[in-house]
């Protein structure tokens, strides 16, 4: 546990010193600042401000997660910085898990900073304290953690560039696959085509489970059961992905 913590802490330190993270954070904060001005000029209605602000936070977090997930671990292995670590009493599993927790912590920090800015913007726009918005951001963080786990898993067997391509594809599929299944059922599609859609559904993570932005924007009652289900789903998926990543990394010749 100690080694995982040390590696995670070091990952946070290294990544927040990176210019890309800082630039994206500044852009994210700037975007939320612009939302404040637009709320008076264009958006006018509070739900519109909330929707655009939450979408912006989601977008910046997704870029950061994609960037960190596909480069951080891969870079350490490829540049052989990992030699310094693995020649010490640190197992490959500890290194990988430490990296994962470190990256999740960086995204949590980003989410937290953007969430503070979001709450200020909504309060100034006349929305008071938006607890549901905060919950939506927390769910986004959960989704990003899963996203990072997937990116790290892909990074164990492919290059950084390919990892970006694969992870982006999964990100896209993860958001449309549940709609695809629904559409297929509504349209009465069966046979091989339905089987194919179902395979996609069970093979790729269903990222729409983490999307409660609509609930937050329209301030409707939160379906707590689905929130709990999403939590269990994310944890299970992350554990499976990390197990697979460790299994591949253990066999990798570095």
């Amino acid at each position: 546990m100690k080694n995982i913590f040390i590696i995670a802490r070091n990952t946070v330190r290294l990544e927040i010193r990176g210019r890309i993270w800082l630039a994206l954070l500044v852009f994210g904060l700037g975007y939320l600042g612009i939302m404040l001005f637009l709320s008076d000029l264009v958006l006018k209605e509070l739900p519109m401000v909330k929707a655009f602000a939450l979408l912006g936070i989601y977008f910046f977090n997704a870029i950061i997660a994609l960037f960190l997930g596909t480069t951080s671990f891969y870079r350490d292995v490829e540049r052989k910085t990992v030699y310094f670590i693995l020649a010490k009493p640190v197992s490959r599993a500890q290194f990988l898990i430490g990296k994962f927790f470190g990256l999740c912590a960086v995204i949590f920090l980003t989410s937290a900073l953007l969430a503070v800015a979001y709450l200020v913007v909504i309060a100034l726009a006349g929305g008071g304290f938006d607890a549901l918005g905060l919950l939506a951001i927390l769910m986004q963080w959960l989704e990003m953690s899963l996203f990072v786990a997937f990116a790290m898993f892909v990074s164990t067997f492919s290059s950084s560039l390919l990892a970006i391509v694969y992870t982006s594809a999964v990100f896209f599929l993860g958001h449309v696959v549940s709609a695809l299944v629904d559409d297929a059922r509504k349209m009465g599609i069966g046979g091989v085509r339905l089987l194919f859609v179902n395979i996609l559904y069970y093979l790729f993570p269903n990222l729409e489970k983490f999307n409660i932005r609509d609930v937050a924007v329209h301030a409707v009652a939160l379906p707590w059961a689905s929130f709990g289900y999403a939590l269990v789903y994310a944890v299970t998926y992350i554990v499976l992905l990390l197990f697979a990543a460790i299994w591949i990394f253990e066999k990798k010749e570095i």
């Binding site: 052989k80 310094f84 020649a87 570095i254």
Partner: protein, 249 residues
Amino acid sequence: MISFSHVTKIYGKRKKQRVAVEDFSLDVAAPICGFLGQNGAGKTTVVKMVTGLLEPTSGTITIDGMPSSSAESKQKMGFMPETPYFYESMTGIEFLRFCAELFSAGDRDDAFLEGLLKKAGIAEARDYEIHTYSKGMRQRLGFAQSLVNDPEYLFLDEPLDGLDPIGRHDLKESMLALKQEGRKIFLNTHILYDVEEICDEVGIIHEGKLLYAGSVKNFCAGRPLEERFVEIVKEHEKKYEERRTKKEA
């Protein structure tokens, strides 16, 4: 004692297989053992196996009777990789602190770590970010980090590469001082002069096979090490060629 017993390492799978180290057996007890070989001879593969970075395809490697890749063995081992790559945005002292924390006795105070930087000759660069370091300074930092756990065994992979004459001299002096302290050093190098100067024993590896292991004096038998090294390598290649011709015939 470091013990290699019938160690073989094969890279790749099926048709793309390449034998990097073949049936390698060696017991190292000397204070400083130089491991000599041409580029691509298998030196780095051997060091990577003993430090647990690579798993041998077959055979065993032990340190004081324990598997060398075990956590217990790693606790008493220091390793400096060839051409070290660091976390560029960390400072020298931060990097040492990070490395020290990974050992069970990780509570090294800054005075101890500063002492290592001083020993390596980069104390003044303590708070500089590593991306500002020259190649020689990186080698020195790599050497310093290999000492953070006060190791009994040191594995140094081409530590003198990229160092200026003063740097080379200082590092060799440091190795001799470590020898005086009772530590064992396994020095990977292709620079014959260094082996002749500071090593007690030498292992010569060529195309993954150990050609000689023993004292430097016995090996040289009054002749220059370079001459003997070329002789033994050519002898091996000649024998190999003869065997191949016989097989083809």
